[in-house]
């Protein structure tokens, strides 16, 4: 049997690194297989992907041991150009791989390099535009597209090359939930239609598992598990590495035979096995009510436009109270970032007014507001200015004019808060993605802001890091900081935040408690937010008096136990 991809005892150590990025990897993939590659950040997924088109070892220097065969060719002896014609590789960050002046040029770039005749290139560009739903965008500049459109463009550019093997390295990390589903389904559909091999590295298990044949779990450079989907799921969780989707875990706990990913599968399996009761009123988890503090941000009739034609914000009214924890949601390009940039004066209202902590933002500068309003950017690299953690942490308090001891004290405190204690002297370059994000947060915390704004802190982070970040946010809020977080991770937002503000087309379409938003499937669908499967299950159990706003596995597990326990005790209402 000829394999499409063959790793034979492969290890690779990057130049200058002490430990190998991947170690003793042996992996064989047959033609036409659809394989999911998963595992925490830093597990070596990207390195493994880069081995396939020869970037390792031809571009990234280091020591490669063992043998990687792609369609029978040894990658050590084959040029990147040849391998790239066989292996189409899409990276995580779409912005960094778009290089052409227009979308059409972008899609054509690969086929041009492969010396495809001009007529054929034009045909392939047409086809790529159609698959990626980018018709009408031919002449747009790729870097002015929204995140989702950019990702679709990067994928179309690879599709147009007609490779033998498709490799997607976290292709949906910048996308909103429905955008993710759309992109993943495109990828799998095209690979299957063309009968080609597909390797997807991805964290979003709930979305991707129904689409793949086989699961490979990696951790710290090694393969921990390699099995068909069912087999991989039945072998249980690997803590911090492979945490299966909520319903799978619940099914295991309640010893269901099925291995359901969706509420539609879980519900019948569960009701078949158990006789269900209803919850009594006092058993329903009740959300605790907090008193609202005084308003800290007040926005009236805010409008903003970047080009003077299209409104990015159109008549926004919003009041944020002290010590609230608010998530700002909405699809890519709905105006979330534009809105929060008004909170610290990075943008000034073109129309309407923004008052932050009693001060009109038009009458002050961002630097002044920064003393009270912390702002964490989407890409931590854009806010790192120094080379050592210590200096980075000191930057903010220095601008406040604090003395040395106070700066030192605050830096230590902030670092400990984000779980990076003892890393004061660490070199910036040595930090991983998750650590950088937490450091970015810490460096804002040293200024002890009254209001903290966090723009998409979990892009490209694995589930463990995402949870860490949200835990930090929660603790900060409990200490009295007002926190506003922009995120696409709706399940986390629902579990951690109490108030939701949903934006669409520059307007607020929902502003209120999280619960009702969570249960409103139509509202969520319109705003590219996917209702968590646990919540869907809760909706199915509504007849049993189960409240509809359940998000976490623990809550649901609790509810389910009570439902079946009632059956034994005859505890009816």
């Amino acid at each position: 049997m000829e394999y499409d991809i063959e790793f034979i005892d492969v290890s690779f150590t990057y130049e200058g690194a002490e430990t190998p990025a991947i170690e003793n990897i042996t992996l064989r993939v047959q033609p036409g297989e659809v394989v999911l590659l998963t595992g925490p950040s830093g597990a070596g997924k990207t390195t493994l992907c880069s081995c396939l088109n020869g970037l390792v070892p031809h571009f990234h220097n280091g020591v490669l041991k063992g043998q990687v065969l792609v369609k029978g060719r040894d990658t050590k002896k084959t040029r990147v150009g040849i391998l790239s014609s066989l292996v189409g590789l899409v990276f995580q960050d779409p912005e960094s791989q778009l290089i052409s002046p227009t979308v059409a040029d972008e899609i054509a770039f690969g086929p041009e390099n492969l010396a495809v005749p001009r007529d054929e290139i034009i045909k392939r560009v047409e086809e790529g535009l159609k698959i990626a739903r980018l018709k009408g965008f031919e002449e747009r500049e790729p870097h002015n597209l929204s995140g989702g459109e950019q990702q679709a463009c990067a994928i179309a550019a690879i599709f147009a090359m007609y490779p033998e093997i498709y490799v997607m390295d976290e292709p949906t990390s910048n996308l909103d939930p429905l955008g993710t589903q759309h992109i993943l389904s495109i990828i799998v559909k095209v690979a299957k239609e063309r009968g080609k091999t597909l390797l997807i590295a991805e964290h979003k298990l709930e979305e991707v598992l129904p689409l793949v044949d086989r699961v490979v779990v990696m951790d710290r450079g090694r393969i921990m598990r390699d099995d068909v989907v069912k087999g991989a799921l039945s072998k249980g969780d690997i803590e911090h590495v492979f945490v299966r989707p909520p319903l799978v875990r619940l099914a295991e706990k309640f010893q269901l035979d099925a291995c359901p990913l969706m509420a539609e599968e879980f519900y019948p399996a569960f009701t078949q096995k158990y006789k269900l009761n209803s919850l009594t009123v006092d058993e329903r988890p009740i959300a605790e009510k907090k008193d609202k503090g005084e308003p800290v941000i007040e926005i009236r009739g805010l409008c903003h436009s970047y080009d003077g034609v299209n409104a990015a914000l159109n008549g926004v009214d919003l009041t944020i109270h002290r010590a609230e924890l608010v998530s700002i949601l909405g699809r890519n390009g709905s105006g979330k970032t534009t809105l929060v940039k008004h909170f610290n004066g990075l943008l000034k209202p073109a129309e309407g007014s923004v008052t932050v902590l009693g001060q009109d933002t038009t009458e002050t500068t961002t630097a002044q507001l920064a003393k009270k309003v912390g702002f964490c950017f989407q890409n931590p690299n854009h806010q790192m200015i120094t080379f050592v953690v210590k200096d980075e942490l000191a930057l903010g308090p220095k601008s406040l004019g604090l003395d040395k001891e106070e700066i030192e004290r605050r830096s230590l405190e902030a670092l400990e808060f984000v779980g990076m204690a003892g890393q004061m002297e660490t070199d910036m370059m040595a930090l991983g993605k998750g650590q950088k994000q937490r450091l970015a947060l810490a460096s804002v915390l040293t200024m002890k802001p009254e209001i903290l704004i966090i723009d998409e802190p979990t892009t490209g982070q694995d589930p463990q890091m995402t949870e860490d970040i949200f835990e930090i946010i929660r603790r900060l809020n409990e200490e009295g900081t007002t926190v506003l977080v922009i995120t696409h991770k709706f399940d986390y937002a629902a579990a951690y935040t109490e108030r939701a503000v949903i934006l669409a087309g520059g307007k607020i379409v929902y502003d209120g408690p999280m619960g009702p938003a969570l249960m409103d499937e139509e509202l969520l669908g319109e705003n590219s937010l996917a209702q968590p499967q646990v919540t869907k299950l809760a909706a199915k159990l509504a007849a049993h008096n189960v409240p509809g706003d359940i998000v976490t596995v623990d809550q649901m597990s609790d509810v389910l136990s009570k439902l079946i326990a009632g059956g034994q005790d005859g505890h009816y209402i």
């Binding site: 088109n53 970037l55 571009f59 040029r79 990147v80 150009g81 040849i82 790239s84 014609s85 990276f91 960050d93 960094s96 791989q97 290089i99 052409s100 002046p101 227009t102 040029d105 054509a108 770039f109 690969g110 086929p111 041009e112 390099n113 492969l114 010396a115 495809v116 005749p117 001009r118 290139i121 034009i122 002449e139 500049e141 870097h143 550019a157 690879i158 090359m161 940039k341 990075l346 500068t365 961002t366 630097a367 920064a370 003393k371 912390g374 702002f375 950017f377 890409n379 690299n381 854009h382 806010q383 790192m384 200015i385 930057l395 903010g396 601008s399 406040l400 460096s443 804002v444 200024m447």
Partner: protein
């Protein structure tokens, strides 16, 4: 303010990238031929009218305003040097020492000099504003239609005619030094013109290697991205309490300097990402034989433009030959200093 392609459907937009490049070179050549404000000035305003029609006056003003100051200073400086021997003396700037004389010719020529600089810059701006960077690069790298025999003949014929007339009009006397026989002299100049024309075709037909073309193209598309990235980094600084919005330019420079380190790293990062991106798209598959989606082809408007340019060149040579190259000076002299 970066000069980038502005979409449109004007006459200039409709031209082939190569035509516009030729326009740039032709205008530069003519501008170097003359130092007369009437001639260069009218050429300048002709080009300005075309450019304003294509991208609007506002756009052009935006990119040319700072240049007006620079070129004015430069022209004033040249007032000192531009004074032919037989010039009509007006006065001294520093009469105490009889230093820095102002002459009629000097004034006229420095005005011409102003337009000479400006027309070259305006021409290149116009090309950049009205040509998609990808087409421009294609114009520099690859010439599919130029492979046709008909096109080669046209090109060689035009260039030969141009060179031949230039040689004979400009250096007629010197040709006679080579051979007193007029026919032989003409023959030699014709052969030389043909050789240069054919040689230049051979050079041009090869175009730039595709690697360089793609590098230029990447440069064009990276400018916008880097500007955006710089903005993001400066925003991040502001959000950390660093004052960036100073009115004082010196303080503003200082604030900007603190952003340089992250900008530097972001740029290096970007460069590496680009390398990975193009390699992953089979850039080095078979670069000499890569194909192109875009194709350039000469249309009616291109022939119109090329004809105009050719006429202008011939007119220019003719004017010079007839001794009207300094027409403004002649007019001013006969009107005021007779």
């Amino acid at each position: 303010m970066a000069i980038t392609y502005k979409r449109g459907d004007s006459f200039l937009h409709s031209l082939d990238a190569r035509t516009k490049l030729i326009m740039f070179f032709a205008l530069t050549f003519i501008a170097l031929l003359f130092l007369d404000p009437l001639i260069i000035g009218s050429l300048f305003f002709g080009l300005y009218a075309l450019a304003a029609n294509a991208v609007g006056r506002k756009t052009i003003a935006q990119s040319s305003k700072p240049l007006i100051v620079i070129f004015t200073v430069f022209s004033l400086y040249n007032l000192y040097w531009l004074r032919p021997k037989e010039a009509i003396h007006l006065f001294y700037v520093f009469p105490w020492w009889n230093f820095f004389p102002i002459t009629v010719e000097g004034l006229i020529r420095s005005v011409a000099l102003f337009f000479r600089f400006f027309i070259v810059v305006l021409a290149i701006h116009t090309v950049l504003y009205t040509t998609a960077s990808a087409d421009l690069v294609l114009g520099l790298t690859k010439r599919e239609s130029a492979q046709q025999f008909k096109n080669i003949l046209i090109y060689v014929a035009i260039v030969t005619a141009l060179l031949f007339s230039t040689i004979n009009l400009s250096w007629g006397e010197r040709l006679q030094n080579i051979s007193s026989n007029a026919v032989v002299a003409l023959g030699i100049s014709l052969v030389a013109s043909l050789a240069v024309a054919a040689g230049s075709y051979w050079l041009l037909s090869k175009g730039l290697p595709p690697e360089i073309g793609i590098t230029i193209s990447l440069g064009f598309s990276t400018v916008g991205i880097l500007t955006e990235q710089t903005q993001k980094i400066m925003d991040a600084q502001k959000a950390r309490g660093y004052e960036m919005e100073y009115k004082n330019p010196l303080l503003r420079m200082k604030a900007f300097a603190s952003s340089l380190i992250p900008i530097f790293f972001a740029t290096i990062d970007r460069a590496e990402n680009i390398a990975i991106a193009i390699l992953s798209r089979a850039f080095d598959f078979d670069i000499r034989n890569r194909t192109y989606r875009r194709a350039l082809s000469f249309q009616r408007n291109d022939y119109v433009m090329l004809t105009i340019l050719l006429l202008l060149l011939f007119a220019g040579l003719g004017i010079n030959y007839l001794g009207w190259g300094r027409i403004t000076e002649i007019i001013v002299r006969s009107l005021f200093f007779n």
